[in-house]
């Protein structure tokens, strides 16, 4: 968990509205190399929107975002080039239904990175082994459990050699007994020094694995700091209310 001083992502005054509803009202933060940042907050506060703005799956209305020294939000940036360097893991996995686990991981390598079939296969198998699924490589998504599907989707993102990984509630669609295997893979990633932003309701994970926590509500950052501070000594009353509600909902398993 060695966090360097080098900035990987910088988000500056990000705004986004859907119709009359302003979902992001000026969000700014930076993430340094090797840092794991957790974003927590109630439903509908714009966490997913924020994450999607970072690789421009959603176009922000205003504000700027940099990946290292390239401005993602500049109209001159080739967004497909940027997206290759940012892994995205979705709440509902979004594996390609017509491809095996191996082909899911291999597709980007073959068609986007234009690797040879041999290189792509080796790399894909390496990533599947990394998430503990080398023996499931030839199964189709429908033949895998939710936890396995999510690990394949993590392998698919990792295969592209990203500088940054974005996780949007990666365990929210999983049965409780499957959450652990996914969190474990993510923890291992964080320990290996991957830079990551994780939107999550898993407070235990945010607290023990992440270096920094952002509490967001209604499109703004309410509180930000290292996990000990945000979880044990929250400065804002809203943060305290949210945390006590969460621990009520999720019971005692989270800390």
């Amino acid at each position: 968990m060695a966090v360097s001083s080098k900035t990987i992502v910088r988000v500056e005054d990000l705004h986004k509205r859907y119709g009359a509803e302003e979902v992001l009202k000026g969000v700014s933060f930076t993430v340094r190399q090797g840092e794991a940042l957790a974003i927590i907050g109630p439903s509908g506060t714009g966490k997913s929107t924020l994450l999607r703005c970072i690789n421009r799956l959603t176009e922000p209305d205003r504000g700027r975002i940099w990946l290292e020294d390239i401005e993602i939000t500049s109209p001159h940036t080739d967004i497909n080039k940027i997206r290759q360097q940012i892994g995205f893991v979705f709440q509902d996995f979004n594996l390609f239904a017509h491809l095996t686990a191996l082909d899911n991981v291999r597709l980007g390598l073959l068609k986007v990175k234009k690797l040879s079939k041999k290189e792509a296969t080796e790399r894909a198998m390496h990533e599947l082994a990394r998430v503990g699924l080398a023996d499931q490589a030839h199964k189709y998504p429908a033949q895998l459990s939710g936890g396995q599907q999510q690990r394949v989707s993590i392998a698919r993102a990792l295969a592209m050699d990203p500088k940054l990984m974005l996780f949007d509630e990666p365990t929210s669609a999983l049965d409780p007994e499957l959450i652990g295997e996914v969190l474990q893979v993510m923890q291992q990633l964080a320990e290996e020094g991957m830079t990551m932003i994780v939107v999550t309701h898993e407070m235990g994970f945010a607290r023990s694995v992440c270096d920094e926590v952002i509490f967001m509500e209604k499109g703004v950052i309410v509180e930000q700091g290292p996990p000990e501070q945000v979880f044990l000594h929250p400065q804002q009353p809203r943060t305290q209310q949210f945390l006590s509600k969460i621990s009520e909902l999720y019971g005692g398993t989270n800390l």
Partner: protein, 241 residues
């Protein structure tokens, strides 16, 4: 029809004629489905992913050709092309009637096929498209590697329906002078007066062609089948109900 008439079935010349007609029917059906497939996929992609003007243009195309009776389309196209060839004196426009038939039927079928593909495309969960774009794929790559392989698989049952429909519609080509199976039958009847017998044989040939075609498509569905996406559903449904 009498026992006497059954002797006709021993006449090889009649079988030869029917076989010739059947071949024309099959060639026409396969060609028109091919033309309709290519155009239908383009129309469907345009309707779903095209910018508004393109999507509207594709919808207008689809409505127009679905509205046209195939007989009208055949005659107008045949007449129109010959007329244009005469007026502008372009010899390559003097198409054989078979080619005109493929065009007319192909356009007609493409309108129907486009709706089969549009339905199949919209059955794909959009999350997969997001995942593809998040990997850095372009829009075209996403269509090529994610949408089409799934949509084509999902379209096979609807396509099988289209096949059995157009197979029989091809008999309309008599209107522009192409002789296929049904037309051959009429010609044989004119010489033999065996209406009933000849049409029973023709009906059986259509039955056979329908069986064969839909069976091949079922094989294709199984061959390209993917657990959770295609096939298997029958067993899954069976287990529940």
């Amino acid at each position: 029809m009498s026992i006497e008439s059954l002797k006709l079935l021993g006449d090889w010349d009649i079988w030869k004629q029917l076989l010739e007609g059947m071949l024309v029917t099959v060639e026409l059906t396969v060609s028109l489905l091919g033309v309709g497939l290519v155009l239908g996929v383009i129309v469907a992609l345009g309707q779903v992913y095209g910018p508004r003007p393109i999507a509207m243009l594709m919808s207008a195309y689809e409505r127009f050709f679905r509205a046209m009776p195939i007989l009208v389309l055949l005659i107008v196209l045949n007449y129109g092309i010959a007329f244009a060839a005469d007026i502008y004196n372009v010899s390559w426009l003097r198409l054989p009637t078979f080619a005109v038939a493929v065009m007319a039927f192909g356009l007609h079928s493409s309108a129907y096929q486009s709706q089969i593909f549009r339905g199949a495309i919209l059955a794909i969960k959009p999350g997969q498209l997001l995942a593809a774009r998040a990997l850095g794929m372009t829009r075209l790559q996403t269509m090529r590697y994610i949408v089409l392989p799934q949509a084509l698989r999902l379209a096979i049952p609807g396509w099988s329906n289209e096949y059995s429909g157009v197979l029989k519609d091809t008999s309309f080509v008599f209107a522009i002078g192409v002789t296929e199976l049904t037309r051959k039958g009429w010609q044989i009847i004119q010489n033999t007066r065996e209406v009933f017998l000849v049409f029973i044989v023709i009906a059986l040939i259509y039955l056979l062609l329908t069986y064969l075609g839909t069976w091949l498509l079922e094989l294709a569905e199984r061959f390209w089948g993917v657990p959770g996406l295609t096939g298997q559903r029958r067993e899954e449904h069976g287990r529940v109900i």
